[in-house]
Symmetry: C2
Subunit: 280 residues, 2 copies
């Protein structure tokens, strides 16, 4: 399959859905709505929303049915970046070659824009109820809330901020990766499958697939930036070769899990390989 | 009816539900979970959750069915206070006689604790699906997200931060009150009724009731703190007497809306009167 064409087509759907969800930049309070849009347009590679839709197709569903979940995970990802960049957190003044939200709009508006983006994620997901059953929507809201709450994404961010860089324990490092990075990737995949009507067994297996791919993705990301001062990084702790090998092995384990999904899961496999291997 | 006894009994239900939802303070990351609990226990008067349950009863439903919404609005209220208190926002070092979250846990953890509390609100609400229909839950998630997003609560906070204190226009002042304060109160009431099985017409009328009570509540709150430097305050703009009269008139208009709900709406009426009039 032509992954670039798949990504371009589905990525345009995500952009259109995000455009529909976000209030216009000029709508009052204009600073808030401008700040909310700042990191959404232009966005990154829309990797997580693409996984959502590929997972929906992998279980024989329609990518369109998973579009609200696709928008939701991108909004959550964006909110977490806006808050991560704040002076009291990573204090980054630039992201994707542009000034960060708080640099342009001030800290107060950046905090509030992140808050509103998280909220909009749940609004987007609630809007799926016109398209798929309310049962699936209510379960997906619970899935997303668990994945981005204090026991997963936010907890991982706190653990990452406090991580001891002298700690080289694989399990402890991967516990941070699992929460900070893999939980959102796993719920993208499991939630996309959920909205598309997957069985409980399929959802559970895709969730594990997503956790493994997510950790591999974080390891690969740290390899790419291995010269940076990451507190919690397998590349820094175990060296580049061991980290590369670990990421490769996680990816292989993950792929075995979804062998039984056959041909229709090919976009999901290709996306996962692409996300991890292009950085190795 | 004995309002104090009603508040004590229902308030204990809310406390128990919040205790069930929040991870233990000692669970890792302990700083995050401690910070999330800091402003929840002990909390305030649990006014919004009490309105949720009273609204459920006002339409002939069971207060217990609305408990997830009750916890959700208290969690949203708490998250908004934690972020409001941050140095980049109101920079408050004390609330309810105790140091604020960022004073105890630092700014980074305070931002993340607020984020996790918002997320937990949606998790709480999603959990209602075992008790009431998934249709009601999905609609309530949408209601809550709209009420606390950039067009309502968060938008009102930004508008409040930027308000020109020389502006004495009633409509502009009340537009800030409507978003910053009344939207969450209105969705407490409408959402409680929604979970308890109210009709669309009842929900719409209770939403208007909540908007009016919410604005009156904010005016009364500003009267209580009339010596403070509020940028957007009817008491400061029009004087104490005019503000008091306006709050009283909004409360009367609101009460007329729900006359037809009869005796079972008495707790809802009493709570609304209590919240507004004890400050006038």
């Amino acid at each position: 399959m032509d992954l670039q064409a798949y990504m371009a087509e589905r990525g345009a759907w995500v952009d259109a859905e995000l455009e529909r969800l976000l209030p216009p930049a000029g709508e009052a309070p204009a600073a808030l709505h401008g700040a909310m849009r700042h990191l959404v347009f232009p966005g990154g590679k829309r990797f997580r929303p693409l996984l959502v839709m590929a997972a929906a197709e992998a279980v024989g569903g329609r990518a369109e049915d998973a579009l609200p979940m696709a928008a939701a995970v991108e909004l959550v990802h964006t909110y977490s970046l806006v808050h991560d960049d704040l002076p009291c957190m990573d204090d980054d003044s630039e992201r994707r070659g542009r000034p960060t939200v708080h640099v342009v709009y001030g800290e107060a508006v950046a905090v509030l824009a992140g808050d509103a983006l998280q909220c909009l994620a749940f609004e987007a997901l609630a809007g799926a109820a016109g398209r798929v059953s309310a049962e699936r929507v209510a379960l997906a809201v619970g899935d997303l809330a668990l994945a981005v709450g204090s026991r997963q994404l936010v907890g991982g961010q706190v653990a990452d901020l406090a991580f001891d860089p002298a700690d080289t324990d694989l399990a402890r490092i991967e516990s941070v990766h699992a929460r900070k990075t893999a939980a959102l990737i796993a719920v993208s995949i499991a939630g996309g499958a959920r909205l598309a009507g997957a069985s409980a067994a399929q959802i559970a297996e895709l969730d594990l697939f997503g956790q493994e791919v997510g950790i591999a993705f974080q390891i690969a990301d740290d390899l790419l930036d291995a010269d940076e001062e990451d507190l919690c990084s397998l590349a820094n702790a175990l060296g580049l070769d061991a980290a590369r090998e670990r990421a490769q092995r996680l990816l292989e384990t993950a792929m075995k899990r979804i062998e039984n999904l056959g041909e229709r899961a090919e976009p999901l496999r290709d996306l996962a390989r692409y996300a991890v291997q292009r950085k190795l």
